[in-house]
Subunit: 361 residues, 4 copies
Amino acid sequence: MNSIRRIAVNTGGGDAPGLNAVIRAIVLTAEQRGWEVYGVRDSYDGLFEEDGVQRLDRSSVRGITHLGGTILGTTNRGNPMRWPVEAEDGSVTYRDRTQEVVDAFAGLDIDAVIAIGGDGSLGIAHALAQKGLNVVGVPKTIDNDLAATQLTFGFTTAVETATDAIGKLHSTAESHERVMVVELMGRNAGWISLFAGVAGTADVILIPEIPYDIESVCAKVQDRYENGPEFAIVVVSEGAHPIDGEPVYQDTRAGQKRLGGVSRVLAEEIASRTGRETREMVLGHLQRGGGPNAYDRLLALRFGAAAVRMVAEGRFGTMVALDPPRVLAVPLEEAVAHIKTVPLDSDVVETARALGICLGD
Amino acid sequence: MNSIRRIAVNTGGGDAPGLNAVIRAIVLTAEQRGWEVYGVRDSYDGLFEEDGVQRLDRSSVRGITHLGGTILGTTNRGNPMRWPVEAEDGSVTYRDRTQEVVDAFAGLDIDAVIAIGGDGSLGIAHALAQKGLNVVGVPKTIDNDLAATQLTFGFTTAVETATDAIGKLHSTAESHERVMVVELMGRNAGWISLFAGVAGTADVILIPEIPYDIESVCAKVQDRYENGPEFAIVVVSEGAHPIDGEPVYQDTRAGQKRLGGVSRVLAEEIASRTGRETREMVLGHLQRGGGPNAYDRLLALRFGAAAVRMVAEGRFGTMVALDPPRVLAVPLEEAVAHIKTVPLDSDVVETARALGICLGD
Amino acid sequence: MNSIRRIAVNTGGGDAPGLNAVIRAIVLTAEQRGWEVYGVRDSYDGLFEEDGVQRLDRSSVRGITHLGGTILGTTNRGNPMRWPVEAEDGSVTYRDRTQEVVDAFAGLDIDAVIAIGGDGSLGIAHALAQKGLNVVGVPKTIDNDLAATQLTFGFTTAVETATDAIGKLHSTAESHERVMVVELMGRNAGWISLFAGVAGTADVILIPEIPYDIESVCAKVQDRYENGPEFAIVVVSEGAHPIDGEPVYQDTRAGQKRLGGVSRVLAEEIASRTGRETREMVLGHLQRGGGPNAYDRLLALRFGAAAVRMVAEGRFGTMVALDPPRVLAVPLEEAVAHIKTVPLDSDVVETARALGICLGD
Amino acid sequence: MNSIRRIAVNTGGGDAPGLNAVIRAIVLTAEQRGWEVYGVRDSYDGLFEEDGVQRLDRSSVRGITHLGGTILGTTNRGNPMRWPVEAEDGSVTYRDRTQEVVDAFAGLDIDAVIAIGGDGSLGIAHALAQKGLNVVGVPKTIDNDLAATQLTFGFTTAVETATDAIGKLHSTAESHERVMVVELMGRNAGWISLFAGVAGTADVILIPEIPYDIESVCAKVQDRYENGPEFAIVVVSEGAHPIDGEPVYQDTRAGQKRLGGVSRVLAEEIASRTGRETREMVLGHLQRGGGPNAYDRLLALRFGAAAVRMVAEGRFGTMVALDPPRVLAVPLEEAVAHIKTVPLDSDVVETARALGICLGD
């Protein structure tokens, strides 16, 4: 058993319902062990800013379990592995600042760090761990595409929001005899679209894992109008793409529009091929906003408590993970090695097909 | 007292949460009086189609109070005042078919018709009334822009959906330090945007009634980043427009894209003028989908029951309306004479300003 | 125009969804006028306790619009008109402390007080006004039984919660072929039961305004089993009573059980008279808990902003009130003169009957 | 591969959100294989009643995925293993009717039966399987206490409802400085209480697996009033009991009151020992009512589709089960061998303790 006295916690990447619950669990369970907890604002940026590291105690985390967002400020900040440096001529170069991060934590007498984040943030955590920092990771991804954990907090809330939206679109699609194309999150993995599409009884679900044939999609739509109720709901992941094409979403970092690409293209193609009135809807940021549902609150609290347990047990360089019904620790290295896509032999895929849902192939 | 034995009911225009509750109330209360009720499918189209008029009884309307959509089929159909007739050469002309409608009802021995619809449908009802049909109208508009009734069913549900969406966008806007522009329904009247924007604590609310000055909007956004939390929520009605410009939404009937015009323009202007990362979101069809909330269920049931009462009392050519706390009847002529916009001296407008919300002026 | 610089706000009586939104609106709108706002904790108790009066500013009220409860602490405290004084022998006498309250506010240089509360609290406010205090009241009652305002914040949220519960009980009542008796709030007035009962499609609704005949109730239940689906939902207000009996709820202050009396008695009578399996459910405190819906948020914000406006206009001794679509001021005296019960000629009562709902008579 | 042409489906035991989704998935996926599906009403009773077996097709199951209850009628009926027979003198004896059930299915040319039910119903299914019926079971228990499956549909919906209720009680408990005792479902297993209690941030959680010491409970309550916010939330399973006592719930079958026993006893003890105002609330039937959330819809659809797959593969005498992320089949015998209680070394129990929640020991 090691002798921890002070730990730090930070959050990185996009927000996810449950972040505050993780933080609360970390603070309460660490206090029970007699530790002090410090929150680093704005990912690692707070380390280099005035008032960027704040003491968190019981009162700091009161009443936040069910609130969305994060009390640790913006989650979308600088990457210490690739920190932008602007030269006098305006050109930008990047330098590795990870050693400064390790030194800054040392300077604050921080014995261990709990890093809550997605793919990118956990990669940074892994790099920091290799530089000697005592790190435990907590996985965070709305898309549920992190390897080594079956689920992450925020995902079932996003699925609930998306399913509710699909449900609402049913009544209006039916009343107006329209095709509704709904674009959901998921650049690399179709978890949200598959789960919400099946739960919400979509007619077509297109995910990145199964390149789609526009003719199959339109055939399904036509079949609905000819034999069933005269409307159709098409759910599509941001990263879905035709069998002979690339994903159409564009890169945020290049300053371009991020959302709506694939749904617009699809809606236009369906309208022109089938002649049916078609509308698109981009659910977008609604999916990651708001408070966590009960399942995600519980999972977030379990992750936070488990992270503190791993720190107490000295299991650094790991990430907490759900292997139902257990929460356990896996090596960070393994967690960031690859992303988790929907396996095509999943019974959920099989269920979708058996229900007559077109998966685009 | 007249001697009603058979009545008909139809729905016209876009869907609204509560339509089924109105139909249920009409059927149950008419049955209590010993009347038969017939539903006309697809606005008035059912009159001219096989199986287009169906008997509705207690079992037809069981368990539908809380369901969205309408059991009377699509609501977005032909206008008997302007019925499209395609010539052999493909050209389309329009003819007035209202007398045929009146005759069709007479042929079915229908003693009175309850027409549920918005501006357009009530105008048709008024024309039919002038041709001698016994009509009572029930107002239906998500936008709440019908004169002569303070509220219509579906409106508070739409406001709830919009407020919930604004709430969800807060956490993600804050986490990412973004400006979020949310486009809500309302081409002519800003009721949804004003109510949801105040309830959802938006920073800027732009409605058709108050042409906006983009500089005021950007000044408010900048002030948020400089003095307050570094994010901003801008709510904008579909029909909002700058002081020196026209609304940018485009006409559906011309086959063009309907939604998203104003939010895209605004988001681009705000981003370029303030330099802040800005995203837009079009809530669109979600606002009119789904089941009605408790308030709208009750209002819809009251409207349905009141419409039957008006029929029993022979008060034809009227529309039921809410003059809180009463439901009463107003002349159809008055109801369709003009649309109801937000009065600029409303205490809600005053409340918005007092809370520091920028209304664009 | 008077010259206000410092105002105080307090909350009294049971909680209601929207209290925090009222407080937020008061603080933000008063700050816009350059005033300082002070919150008095625990009704008026804070005036006589250390740290019982606290400065409220923009940051105190951030992010609370949608939260239940009240940031001003417990709402269920001492009545300054009847303050308990314990003698050495343990006996309790009461004294009038209203002058001390007036003096305490004067000692704090408070120019005006906004008192948010129900029947009792507004009575106290009225007494304080008569002693010379500058008071404006904001009505607060879940039961919606305050005269002089058509609606109060929290009421539609309570109706939504109750309607949702009635909906949930339908599926289980039907599956088990049971009679479910649901007790809702309302000792003197049946607003919640009537509104939620109709919106939730109950079969029987019993309210204090209409003493019930148990035989009518049982006849309706039997009719359901014989002719309709074999289950029944009976909604009953806490204060409903038989034509020949008294309400069975008992007084909290005497330390006795408060809820569940009438539903238990009814369930037993229905079971023994009809032989049908019957269960009761007391919704109780759930009805006043949680955050306000969009409608109540807006109403609460309007009330808060209006109260500040009345203070600015020197309209003391009044209460803000909703006379749709306006919020205006009415004399406190009028507001507390009597409670507002459901008028038997209300169209909602008529709607309930027309839908075939048994009202117990 | 066997040659199935006609299958039957029935539901037994109390209702659970998701039953209709299971039925829909069975019908749609069986139709895709070209099978006919028959629904048996009222558990097995329909076999012996006129119109008790009905053909189910695509149109029978349209739009029911999100609805609570079951389209197959009451779920709480006769047990063919112990069928009551009333003698002329009014005395009741029981006989085994399972062979008649097997024969009845044979007489209807039913090739296989999918039985959806809990502990009791699956025991019957097992007995029928042993008599030669081709049966596949689908687990159904709100309490989540069925062995051999990690989760059942309806459970996370019940946890959500309970968590939401606990959340609502927080604001009123705090406003009134009360202890609120909330009784949740769970006679033998504390899953709902533990999950909802942790997610809803209760202060005390009492479950059947951990007999409670009333002194520990009261010490925790006192600590809240002395050091923390002056209120407390106590969550208690129906079947929780003191270390030296029995569960206080009473048997429904004996015609006695079922719910509220333990919460009433606890509330009285806490009030008398701590002197704090205490109220109890029995959430009861609300927990199993209403429509399923997205997670439960998906799980129910997967279970239904998997059951059809098991029938196709001839894997009779099994039950579908969730072993995340897979749905697979387990022997019915194993599934009904014992109930699944909360393991005391579960990380959820550990999380609860680490968060400072009193578990009664």
